[in-house]
Symmetry: C2
């Protein structure tokens, strides 16, 4: 009987987005040994997509040959069901219906495959390789085009009875508030704290305040990046856009804390480039809405993972979580 | 080596409330073999309380003698910390500061002792003996003078990093809304959906509608019981009091579902006597605020445990959860 040599064990991490798919071969230390990408939207049939992925990955697996042992494949994808290994009715992917993705991957690669949604994968990545190392209770919030979340309680991801737990972006922070462009719900966190939400807030506020620097841009250039540029130049309206965003985020975070009492909340994604413009009001309004027993206990921190690799690391972490 | 005979194993369940403490000897089937109670508020010192409890319990333990084996003691109490075995700064108990309650109990009884808050204990009771038998993901909401909660995910109670998770009564359902009489927070679930909240709503509504039957009672008799009496007599204002309460509850439940995706939400406590007057609007507004993937999946049900014994059963369940 030989001992298991951890340094030889690797996983394939795959992150599937609406436009692009990234993949990487990752070791136990969270080092990405090799990586690549392909277009998701170039493949109408999921089987063709998996064939194309295999074409790219297989030479890399061959290259590592007997040097490394592949433990399995982890996949982060929208609407992925951890329990069933399926991707279900994902509006942003070209493959319609319920796709038995893990099964198809295993058939092609000959390796066990686990899927979950991208924010859950990101949370696992943070726990194994990032800012949440050693933590057993934390919440990961991804602030990008949308708002995603992954919740770790007592060292485990919360999947819920059907595998769909952790849709915190769709919790309501302002009943009867802003209508969501896609779900139709009124006043959800995503409607305010996503990049899309920030753009809406900015367009509304610059219309109200003609003196704002934000009015120097054409309509289609208003986004969280240009708001950030104006905030850096001390435009009070741009600063107010982020303050308001941070307030809504903070109010939502207080509710999350009173649910699972995490040690930390990790923020990740494009929106966090706004830094303290969002973080400070978020912290203020989180603390203000907490019961005293929860106050000044929860760390509110940014992700430590390199954004380019985070999704791959998170997906690969799925392999070792089990 | 002898086999363990489950039918002989029993636990002592203790439920500590601000005024009264109930206790019972419970077997693995959730049968209360013996029970009793004492005043909590009659003992200024916690040691005296524990001595008095022992005086009552010990004869019962002697009675079962060699017949039964006592596995341990489970205690449900306000502000109880599961990890530390303490009761901390409980505003409604006579004992101030941080009380090492489990340690004191073990010293007196010679049995291992576990503590948690009453709503967590109730959730465990439902999982072992009640409506949640066989469920691995559900949320228990207790609607009494206050609103408490216990959250089970993947078969385990969520305690959080500090043991205080599951304060869902204090999540904000209406930012800037009704000020809470004790915490000072604005728009918390407890401010609307507790018996106290219902009384406030009823007083406000009867002042606005002089024709309401609710105006036939003196001010100090307005409570969820009299509102129920008027609702049963088809007073539209009394019915509206419950509908509004149910709406706020339902909106909050939708947020909870998108957090942990439970199979069911169990409602327990005095307020549920209002039955469909609250349950129907709660269900309606929960479904309305859910993402489509969560709709028509979550059962919203009343507790099955006998209210007189539920707290004792829940506390005893702590012994066998470990």
């Amino acid at each position: 009987m030989s001992l298991i040599d951890l340094s030889k064990q690797v996983a394939l991490g795959v992150d599937i987005g609406g436009t692009n798919t990234k993949f990487g071969i990752v070791n136990h230390r969270g080092e990405v040994l090799d990586k690549g990408n392909l277009r998701t939207d170039a493949y109408e049939k999921v089987e063709d997509f998996i064939d194309a992925l295999y074409e790219q990955v297989h030479p890399l697996m061959e290259k590592h040959g007997t040097e490394k042992h592949f433990d399995g494949i982890g996949v982060g994808a929208p609407n992925a069901n951890y329990y069933k290994g399926t991707i279900e009715l994902a509006p942003n992917l070209p493959w319609k219906g319920v796709i038995p993705f893990a099964e198809l991957m295993t058939a092609k690669f000959g390796l066990p495959c686990t899927v979950t949604n991208d924010a859950n994968a990101a949370a696992l990545g943070e726990m194994l390789f990032g800012a949440a190392r050693g933590m057993k209770d934390f919440i990961m919030i991804t602030l990008g085009t949308g708002v995603g979340s992954g919740i770790i309680a007592n060292g485990n991801l919360i999947y819920g009875h059907d595998g769909f737990a952790g849709e915190l972006g769709h919790t309501i922070v302002k009943p009867g508030g802003r209508k969501h462009w896609s779900t139709g719900s009124e006043g959800s966190l995503e409607a305010y704290a996503s990049a899309t939400g920030i753009t809406i807030t900015a367009k509304k506020m610059r219309a109200e305040f003609p003196e704002s620097m934000l009015n120097q841009y054409p309509e289609d250039e208003i986004n969280s990046k240009t708001v950030y540029e104006c905030a850096m130049k001390e435009d009070p309206i741009a600063i107010e856009v982020f303050r308001y965003t941070g307030q809504k985020l903070g109010e939502a975070l207080a509710n999350f804390v009173m649910f699972s009492s995490p040690q930390a909340i990790l923020l990740f994604g494009g929106v966090i480039k706004a830094g303290d413009f969002i973080l400070k009001p978020a912290k203020l309004h989180m603390e203000r809405n907490l019961l005293p027993i929860f106050r000044n206990k929860v760390k509110l921190v940014f992700s430590e993972l390199d954004e380019a690799d985070a999704a791959i690391l998170g997906a690969s972490a799925l392999v070792w979580e089990k």
